[in-house]
Structures are given as structure tokens and as C-alpha cells.
């Protein structure tokens, strides 16, 4: 599903050039649940952003479903992104001015789903995330765990092929964190590919495979049993 080869990414300021990704290669198959781990500054977030088509690499190849996307322009990336990729962030990133329902509805609006279908889909996913009763609340009226469930709902409402999660439990207590991990596992079992960046060994254990990065390179891959 995802295959990157010799991916490079540099960050430049006036004086220094920092290598974020150094000829990184890896592959993620359809239906996999992969965790990416490593110390701060090892390049995991950079990798996730490139995988999520939010950022473009400086060199190397990125095949998404066998299509080369490394050189896609902003418009094409946005297009591919909205149909295929769902995002879950550590800080939830819900829009404060929109209600739970409206936040979850947003991706459907941008992909042009008809209003009646949108209501059905949003209600279904809110139901699944068990936050239906909060549909008319605003994000700041919810607990962290609830907010993250809304964010996951928003990530999956478009039935993306892949979910990219950036430390999804980072801002949650352990009980809420476990709930979120259960949700992701459920989604994975239903066929969604998941790539998750995490600092938590505990969370990483929910995945099939851990990729450990150091200085922009893969140092080790653990296969989980």
C-alpha cells in the first residue's frame, strides 16, 4: 500500500542544514498496524507528514497504491488526501467553532457528499464512537478522551484506506488512552491500515510491527506477536 525508497528530507536555516530523513526506505502493507517509535527529533513526525501528503520529500520515491506521489503538487495531494487518508493528532485539532457533529461532517463536505448521506454517515460513526449524545456540543465542552474520539470519528467518517495517528494518546490519561487504542485496533481489524507515531511502548504493543527510527534512519524493526 505504501512503499518509500531512499526518502530524504532536510530542514535548512541560514546557517545549518538538519537532516530529518536520511535515505529512509520502508513498506506498509494493506491492513497493517504499524507503530513508529524513536527519540525526539529522530524524524518520526516528518515521516508521518510525508506519508500523509502534508509535506513533500526532498528526494526519494513514495508510492501510494503503486502511484508515485513524491512529486504531486499541493492540489493533487489535497485531493488524494481527502479520499484516502484520515488523521488523528495528539492535540485532537478539532475546530472550536464547530459542534461535534459539524466537525465530523467536515471531510464529507469537502469530498462533496450529499447532505442527506452526510447525516447518515456522521450519525453512524458517532454512534460507533459512543459520542452520539454529545453531537451538539462544542469541543471545549468535552473531556480529552471524548475529544479524541470525535477526532477519530472525523478521521474515519470518509472510510479512508489509511489512518495516520500522531501520538493519539499523548494528551490522555491511561484509561482514556486505552479506549482510544481499542478503537484504533477495532478499525484495523475491520481493514483500515494504521500507521501510528508514539512514545509509548504500551501503545506500540497494540500494533503488528514497530519501526524504530534514529537520526532519520530505520534502526530496527520489531514484529509483534
Amino acid at each position: 500500500m505504501i512503499k518509500i525508497t531512499n526518502l530524504e528530507k532536510f530542514y535548512r536555516t541560514e546557517e545549518v542544514e538538519t537532516i530529518a530523513l536520511n535515505k529512509l526506505s520502508m513498506e506498509v502493507k494493506k491492513g497493517e498496524f504499524v507503530a513508529i517509535m524513536g527519540p525526539s527529533g529522530c524524524g518520526k513526525s516528518t515521516l508521518l507528514n510525508i506519508l500523509g501528503l502534508l509535506d513533500d520529500p526532498d528526494a526519494g520515491s513514495y508510492l501510494f497504491n503503486d502511484i508515485e506521489v513524491a512529486d504531486f503538487n499541493e492540489r493533487k495531494r489535497a485531493d488524494l488526501r481527502k479520499h484516502n487518508i484520515g488523521f488523528v493528532f495528539q492535540s485532537f485539532n478539532l475546530i472550536d467553532e464547530l459542534t461535534v457533529f459539524e466537525n465530523v461532517e467536515l471531510p464529507l463536505i469537502y469530498t462533496g457528499v450529499a447532505a442527506a448521506d452526510r447525516v447518515k454517515k456522521v450519525e453512524a460513526v458517532l454512534d460507533k464512537m459512543q459520542i452520539m449524545h454529545r453531537r451538539n456540543h462544542y469541543p471545549q465542552q468535552l473531556s480529552g478522551g471524548q475529544q479524541q474520539r470525535v477526532a477519530i470519528a472525523r478521521a474515519v467518517v470518509n472510510t479512508p484506506k489509511i489512518i495516520l495517528a500522531d501520538e493519539p494518546t499523548g494528551n490522555l490519561d491511561s484509561s482514556n488512552g486505552n479506549d482510544v487504542m481499542e478503537l484504533l485496533t477495532d478499525l484495523n481489524e475491520q481493514g483500515t491500515t494504521i500507521i501510528m507515531v508514539t512514545h509509548s511502548e504500551h501503545d506500540a504493543r497494540y500494533s503488528h510491527r514497530i519501526i524504530r527510527l534514529l537520526d532519520g534512519q530505520t534502526v530496527v524493526e520489531n514484529i509483534m506477536i
Binding site: 502534508l54 489535497a78 485531493d79 475546530i95 467536515l106 469537502y110 472525523r154
Partner: protein, 788 residues
Amino acid sequence: MIKNYIKIAWRNLLKSKLYSFVNILGLTIGLTIGMLILLWVQDEMSFDTFHSKVNTIYRVNGVTGSGQGIKIWDNAQGPVATTALREIPGVRNAVRISHGWNSIYTYKDKLLKEENTGYTDPSFFVMFDFRLIKGSKTKPFPTDQSVIITESTAKRYFGDDEPVGKVIQQDHETNFTVSGVIADFPDNSSIKFDMLFPINIIARQYNASNFWKSLDTDWGNYGYSTFFDIKPGTSLQQVCDHLINAQKKVAPWIKVSPGNGYRLQPMSDIHFYQADGSSGSLQTVKTFLIVGIITLLIACINYVNLSTARAMLRAKEVSIRKIIGAQRRQLFAQFIIESVVFFCVSLFLAFGLLYILMPYYNDVSGKHLQLDMLNADLWKVVAVTFVGTLAISSIYPSLLLSSFEPLKALKGKLTMGIGQAAFRKILVTTQFVFSVTLIIVTVVIGKQLKFIREKDPGYDRSQVFSFRTGQLGEHLDAVKAKLKSVPGIRAVTSSDNKLVDNGRATGGVDWDGKPTDMMFIMHHFGIDENFMPVMNIKLKAGKNFSGSKADATHFILNETAIAMTGIKDPIGKRFKYQETEGTIIGVVKDFNAASFKQNIDPAVIYYQPYGYKLYIKTTGKDAAQAIAACKQLWDKYNSGFPFEYRFMDEEYDALYKTDQRSGVLFNIFSAVAIVISCLGLFGLATYTAQIMMKEIGIRKVLGASVGGIIALVSKDFLKLVVLAIVIASPIAWWAINKWLEEFVFRIDVGSSVFLISGAIAIGIAVLTISFQTIRAATANPVKSLRSE
């Protein structure tokens, strides 16, 4: 999608209350004032355009004199119209209009004075598009005793009764039968009357024994506003040439030199340009149009400034939307719609404000504008204002907001680049350039208007009132004697002309050494021997009239006349005024018989002990007694006619009424523009204080004083204001000189005006930002650092 945009726009509006309030307030005031000004301009531009033949109608402007003494009248002689109709092929139709005397009219128990009557040709009703409600267009005056009155005049006399056929009496003597009713003349018409009489009444006053045998051959009296309807393609020059040739044939003594023939002025121009081509109301229209646009621009800049300043706070939302899949154009559309929501709210409020302000505005501007929601013209103004300002205000912020790179914005790494900050500085500076310019211009206009109002016109008008003598004139000596004994009356004098705003002039003057081909136009006054002492008009040489018989051939000239005629040692020299040969006995210092916008014209003063206008100088505190005594005498000799008097001060103020009005409007508009600028500055200061909260906190922890912090935050703004003053000064200097050109007598604009205006601008700016800076400087640093 749009629903979602509107929804979020509305919630954003409610969420950031201060920001929304400042933004909407600025926009509302801007839109209101912008629309008020544009409605005013539109009304001015619409003058006389309602005539379907406006493009083919011309006014004939007669010209007399030559060289320095040239005079271009806004009217022509009686035969001009008839000659043109008879002899010039391109002239399809012609109308003459002459103003009538002020008369009183009676119907049953009603007695009303009419000051706005006219005599005209029947073609008036065909050439112009004034709506004749009742009566015949082709035969409006069945007899010479017919009159056509306006709808509201009819109401005044007859209430709801049928006016046609009713008989009204003029001055208790002459009966006129109402033969038609015309709709009230529109406000935006240069031609306005309450009653129209057939011009035949004037024609009948001629008889064969007079010098001028008939109206149609009287080339001497420039007393008729004359309009031609000219076939397109006709050479206007040929029409004028034909007229001057006709005049030369019949009246060869009216000197004609190249350049003083007739002139044709398009109907559409007569409101904007005076007959001599100088600007009429055009100057004011242009000025206001510019002020209106500036006000709107300031409001737009405000909006752009505040929305871009706030852009950082929206960055997270933009990023999330982008990550979720929004295209840039979708975001662009979203922010445009957000602006539309802001503008719609402001427009709605602006309408409310317009509705409330309209009566006051009409009062100040002297217009009768209406907020008629069914009027297409109103919506034109609204649409132009709305779309124009919206386009200017919304595009840049929308482009900026939709351009954020999602990742940076989300991580809070988004910093407004130098370009961004510089752009906002340019906007603030521009705004203050406008404001400072307006302040300077306002100060200068105020000073100039005060200057002309208070400048000594060369005569003393205080405590003097005047009235027409009417039948008193036949007992004038007795009346004067009687009035002089009334306590409260200091002096009595009479004249046959107005001193304030004297419009009369004659070409019938001669002196030794006058070039034979020269026609010299002079103002003329007839006064009694008391007039100059009472009015305190100073003699420069010679003496005043003595009241003796010999005064009948004595003349007094003003300084300008002496200078322009070039008469050396004038006292005792020959002078001929119309048919009277005489000598010059005195020279008076120049006094201003018109407004200070005009040069002082040459004037000849002759002796006329029986002038029709009585001037009474009162002691001031007993003025009421003096007026009562005059009224008593008036009633004795003019029973049935109302007694009307006017103080010269009022007449004098009326000269500058339009200027005073424009001055007041200008003050208001400038004040509003400045207030809007301040709103923008306030918003920006608020934002800056927020952004700098951490820096201020750190500085305070390190020991900065409150004063130091205030200086730190204010400094950047004040730099911009000073820059604006520097840029605005030459612009304002140019603008005020342009405006002052209209006045012959004007103030010197010194550097003090600029210094004062600059100080005002800085003062306003400091006041505006101080609220926010002081708040930021006195905030507890622990709090501000923690919130970071």
C-alpha cells in the same frame, strides 16, 4: 458548503466580540457616511437630467464688455429667442423665462406672498419635461391673464378644491385665472418656480413711443433666461454668430469684439458651471466625492488590517481544514463569505443609521434626500458602495488566510513574515495620511470661512435692517423725518439697490479718454446723502453728496473704478452715467458688494434721494421698537401688504450659506473618517499588545518600568503617524491651495496649520492606543508568562 461557511462566520463574529465590534462599527460608520455622501453626489449629478431633451437644450449666455470689463450673463435679451426661431434653421424651439417681482396674491381670505414667480413662453411646457397635471401643453395660457401654478401652490390657496378656473388677485389689483397645474419642480431642477405667467404680460408693457418698441426688438435688456432646443449636428458657433450679427444690425451701439459674442451652455452643465465657465457646485461635488471615497477606503483598510492581524488566530482552523481536504479555493471562498457576513451585518446597521441620520443630514446639507427602498437609484449607490468596499477589503485577507501552510500553522510555528508586518504598517500609514490630510483641510476651511465671515467688507452692516418702501416711497421725506425721531432708531437712509450681493450692472458709462470700442461694465447704486455715513463707507478723496439739487449730476466712484478706467485726478472730471452728463465729486474706498469669493467690481454711485429701499440703523437694544415703528408706518400706506424686513447681517450670512454648509459637512465627514481610523488603530494596538504579552512579561520580570513598556509599545505606532504627517502635508497643501483658489480674498496658510494638525493627529493616536498599552504595561507578568 455555503451554509457551513456562513455558520462558522457567524460563530466567529459572536466569539471575538471586541474584534467584531470594532470591525463592524468601523464598517457601519464608513458605509453610512460613504452612502450619505454618495447619495448627495448622486443627487447633484442628477441635476436637470430628467429632461428627455437634456442633451439638445442649451442656455444662451449673453456677453457684454470686453477685456477686463467682460461680463458673461446667464441670460440674454428678449429678441434672441424670437430671432433664432425665425432665422436659424438648427434651433427647433426656444423658451424665455424672466423672474417676476415679489407680489402678494389673494384668494378669498387667503393672502400670500410669492417670491418665486416667472414669466415664460408657452413653449416652456413642451421643451422641458416638467409635468403639466392640468391644462394644455400647447396652449397653456388661454389669455394674458392666465397663470399656471404648482401643485403645492394650488394647495396653499385652494386646499383640495379644483384649482383650474379659480381667480387669484395680484397686489389687490390684477386678476389671474388659474389655467393649469404643474407638478412641483423637482429638487434637482435648476429651474424652479411656484407660479408661471405668460411672457406676453411683459411684451404688453412696451409701446411705440418708447426707445425700445417691443420685447422682440429690445436688444438692451439682458433679462431673460433663454433656452434653445438645437438639432444635433448644428454648428453651435454658427448659431452664436448668427445671433451676434442680428444684434449688430439692430443695436450697433452694443460693442462687439472678438470673444464677447453669445455662448451656448449645455443644459446638463448649468448646475455645475456658472455662465462664465467658473465652477459652480462642481468643486463641492468633487470634494465630497473624494471625501466619500476616502472614508470608504479608510473603513476598508480598517477591515483588512484587523482581519490580517487576527489571521494568526485563525491559522489552526485553516490547517485542520486543509489537512482534512479543503482546497485553497474552498478556503478562499470561506473567508470571502465571512467578509460578506460582516459586510451584510454592517450594511444592515448602516441602513438603520441612515434612516436615523437622514433628517439631520438633509437639514445640514439643505437637500431633501429620501431613503426610499423602492428607488433604484438608492440601490445603485448601495450596490456600488457595498461591492466596491467588499472587493477591496476581502480579497487580500482571504488570500492570506487560505495560503497558510498547514503544518507550520498547526505547530504554532507560523510567524507573520516581515512582508506581512510591513504591509500592515503601510496600511496604517495610508489611513493616517488620509486622516491627517482631512484634519489639515478641515482646519484651513474653518479658518477661511471664519476669515470671510469676519472680514470687514468696507461698510458697517451691524444693527441695520432694510425694507422696500412700497407706497411709502411717495411720502419718503415725511417718513424719513418721522422715523428719525423714533427712539431706538439711530439713522435712516435709502438706496435704490442692495448693498449686500448687488447684482446690478450697466454698460452705460462714459468718461474722457474712454476707448471708443470699449464697453465698460460697472455696478451702480443710487443713494441719498446719509447712506455713506450710516454705512460707514469711507471717502478716499472728494466729498459726499450734500443733498442739494446739484447732486443730480454728481458721481462718486470706487477705487477699483478709478483704477480700471484710468481717470487721473478724478475729482471734478467729466463722467457720464446713462443719459446723465456730470462730474466726479468723490472717490470711496472699495467696499465689497458681493461675496469675498469675487473681486470687487468697479462701481458708480449716483444721487437718488428716493430709493425704493429704506435702511434703518437701530441702537441695537431697541431694535424691536424701531421695527414696530416701521411696521406701523408701512401698514398706514401699504395696507393689505405684509411688512417684511431683513437685517443686513442675515443677508450677509446668506452670501456664504452654501460655503458654511459645505464647511459643516466637511467637518462632520472628516471627524467620522478620523474616528474610523482610530478604531483601526485601536484594534491594531489591542492585537499588538496581545502578541507582545510575553515580551512585556519578560521585560517586566527583568525590571522594565511601566513607562518604558508604554513607550515600547507606542513607539512603533507613533513612528507611523509621524511618517503619515510627513506624507500628508504636501498633499494637504496642494488640496487647500486648490480649494482656496475659489476665493479672491483668502488666508495665508502658514506652517502653524500643519504643526497644529500634526499635533492633533499624534494626540488622537496616543489617546487611542494608550488604553491598550497601559493595560498591557500594568498587567501582572506572572499571568502573561503563564498563559504563554
